[in-house]
Symmetry: C2
Subunit: 337 residues, 2 copies
């Protein structure tokens, strides 16, 4: 398998991304990674690593001289930067020279490039982005986390199908429990979009367990949570913001007393483990679902571990044919609209 990695994406520079690629090929011998970026720069990076004894045999380079910055408009980027890392990457997938693209860069541009180069899966109206959230039990997959801000019920219904196929595969669950994010558990609760979606899911043969509230997201009693991309993005970002702020507030309280400061020395490791568990940058990546190929976007501040995990996730999705599973589910579960 060959996974193409956008070596220029993200906020922390190519070194860390390439380290992630090295770990990934080190973990799996059936894996090759194609680095996307300016050839000279990447050659130098690889040479450095080979010099320090790393096995770089299954790393290769495909020249992509342009990069899309974090705040660039996705539409402009796709239109004007034909030689950007993500455009070149999805071109490789289109031509069968790579099996997936992983990028920690501008997520909108990555999605736009994927749709432009690969198109949508047959029957899918709106591709979207799914993301795993940590919970008290197993992670839950939320979809959509930002690709589609104005949705209709059939879009959310398809998110349920796609996320269910993908989480079933990634987390090895037979029939993932699907919940619909709303403001009350009863079927009548929610906005117009949610009420309509609830009715569609209820009559389908999907494993729909009903509405879930915001406070249920982190409990882990559901495997897939469906929402529109506006609500999903705010849910993700507010969680990141609160997790950071909470650690900050706790630190302030600890620093107020010598006693607590001493206690902190004893507790430090538990803190670090906790931080890792709730740190979104540690999670692999967010699969783009509904495109005719495989793409994964990572947090801009992803660690090399997160990049390594995302590459593994992409390989896993490819070898388990997630898109075939989605297409089958679409045929099986689709309800007449």
């Amino acid at each position: 398998m060959r996974i193409a990695l956008d070596a220029m994406g993200g906020d922390l520079g190519p070194e860390l991304l390439i380290d992630g690629a090295l770990s990934a090929i080190d973990k799996r011998r059936d894996l090759e990674v194609v680095l996307l970026g300016p050839e000279d720069l990447l050659k130098e990076q690889i040479a450095q690593r080979a010099g320090s004894g790393n096995s770089t045999g299954r790393l290769s380079i495909v020249h992509a001289p342009q990069t899309v910055s974090m705040h660039e408009s996705p539409v402009d980027a796709v239109r004007k930067k034909k030689d950007s890392t993500v455009m070149v990457g999805f071109d490789l997938v289109k031509n069968g020279q790579a099996d997936a693209v992983v990028s920690a860069g501008n997520s909108g541009a990555t999605m736009a490039a994927a749709v432009r180069k690969l198109g949508r899966l047959k029957g899918i109206s709106r591709p979207g982005i799914a993301s795993l959230f940590p919970t008290l039990k197993d992670p839950v997959m939320l979809m959509d986390i930002g690709a589609n801000v104005d949705c209709r019920s059939q879009h959310l219904f398809q998110f349920a199908i796609m996320a269910s196929s993908c989480s079933g595969l990634l987390l090895n669950i037979d029939r993932p429990r699907i919940g619909l994010l709303s403001i009350g558990e009863e079927s009548g609760k929610g906005n117009t979009l949610v009420k309509k979606t609830h009715d569609m899911l209820k009559v389908s043969s999907l494993n729909f367990i009903g509405n879930v509230e915001g406070r249920d997201v982190y409990k882990g009693d559901v495997d897939v949570i469906v929402c529109d991309g506006f609500v999903g993005n705010i849910s993700l970002k507010i969680s990141e913001g609160l997790a950071e702020a909470a650690m900050e507030m706790l630190k302030v309280e600890i620093m107020k007393s010598l006693r607590a400061k001493i206690g902190y020395l004893f507790i430090r490791k538990a803190f670090a483990a906790f931080r890792k568990r709730v740190d979104y940058a540690e999670y692999g990546g967010a699969p783009l679902l509904g495109i005719n190929g495989i793409g994964i976007i990572c947090h801009g501040t992803s660690s090399s571990v997160a990049i390594c995990n995302a590459i593994g996730e992409a390989a896993n999705m490819f070898e388990n044919r997630v898109n075939e599973s989605i297409t089958r589910s679409l045929q099986q579960y689709a309800v007449p609209v």
Copy 2:
């Protein structure tokens, strides 16, 4: 001033609510509290407290034999339970026998009773619920947190006016900074509703600082955040859920090692202080804004401290004439729709 307290609302029983009322009258000598609920039950409660030396002179009772349970439909409750605590309470406000109602009961029913008995403020299309969120700096007021799930831009515009008046008064801020909750800071980011609202706020003379993202909510760099009630409710509930889950996860990590367990003994107080800071049940209450009177809803698991704070907040809103301020702002800032 006379504040009416729904003595039957909430999940934890009347004792705690009445304790909150006692603390409130103890704090402010210009305050009376009217307890709403079954007369016999409340008489007994007051007698018990008077017996143990509490000053109950400024507590009185107004008989309200019916209660609305947490899961009852607000519409049904208002239609069928004319003698419920909240209906009786807002009747008192209507007749000038009380200045505000505080309830920790069914928030939808409290809102419905308020609108039914008092009506909307002149010029307001949709009353809503505002709530203070803890941040790294001062609290931020989010509106709407659940009363209006399907909104138009003029509703969100009015939320900005109402929350700005109220937070200015409660937190003593001259011109509160208003942000619009969205999925990117740029004006073009967001769903259709948010983009339209952005345009309206931008041309107004309100102190609008632009879009804020989910991750900005807890930073404290904005005083008011505007969103529809669906997004607001999910933001609130997901925060509560994450705060709880995070404490749980941290506990699990601490329990894994003896060293960390010992450290915890030293750090316990800092933890408790932190918990209090992020505990939504500790916050006073959420003002109902846009009704022709004053109402505050509290979390169902409010402590007596939270109830005491909410009563104080209600008094504060009454004596500073929050509704006059909202009406003035409406005239000053309203833009032609």
